[in-house]
Symmetry: C3
Subunit: 108 residues, 3 copies
């Protein structure tokens, strides 16, 4: 058993949840924020047998998109607030996944 | 030291929190959603010495109930939306627990 | 790669996020509650190379403060509700950190 912690964009969460259920996987979803953009994201907790980890990662990869987004540089570099003010384009999204070992798994 | 991640129903969270405190355990609670029913649930993070893991699991088992709930099958199987429309009874609740190894624990 | 789960007070979260970004670390923030006071706190998830774990812990220690707070003892000891009613001073805050092993880390 492994625990996958996947941090993804809100926009991809519903589709990912549906595809995981369709693949026979159970996921719990936690609202989260963070990263450079403070954009809304969410964190999936997915418990999975070791031999199915790659299947889950493939589903995540397929359903979590990288997108372009405009941000004001003052957010990224507050110290540059006076000199820069035009929004710039950055890549956001995709998925950040941690695969953690599990000592024991129980359901009641 | 072990980290217990326990996903339980919202309805059981207050009672579980109280019983954990009474048992001398500290728990952090994160709002979450997911599973088949998308019903509100929450995720407890509990740090505990290895020899106390079973005590915590016993408290979780005792305070997290399985319940019957009615859902429309179209949610479970969207592809069957036209043919099925009566709500069906399913079992929800209980607790899903992952016990994770911890390399190091610090408090400041 | 290690995963740091840090539970801190809401009041410290913005400053901690800024200092982590400044140090080149990425953190995801999850709203949480719990502990004795039920005060709002939040849980940071920080993925970090093993040799940088102490750097991150130093940033957390520096930016998460312990504070005095008044609570009514009836919350801490409901059974004493009738005999005690004056608020008492307790120490809250700081940070509780779990450092977890990571089997694998992927970004898409
Ligand atoms: Ni797509
Ligand atoms: Ni009961
Ligand atoms: Ni300070």
């Amino acid at each position: 058993m492994k625990l996958i912690l996947a941090i993804i964009q809100d926009k991809d969460s519903q589709q990912l949840q549906e595809k995981l259920v369709k693949g026979g996987f159970r996921a719990t979803q936690l609202p989260s924020t963070g990263g450079f953009l403070k954009a809304g994201n969410c964190t999936f907790i997915i418990g999975v047998e070791e031999e199915k980890v790659d299947d889950v990662l493939a589903i995540i990869k397929k359903n979590c998109h990288t997108r372009s987004q405009y941000v004001t540089p003052t957010f990224l570099m507050p110290e540059a607030a006076s000199s820069l003010s035009e929004p710039i384009e950055v890549q956001v999204g995709g998925a950040t996944c941690f695969i953690l070992p599990v000592d024991k798994f129980v359901r009641f």
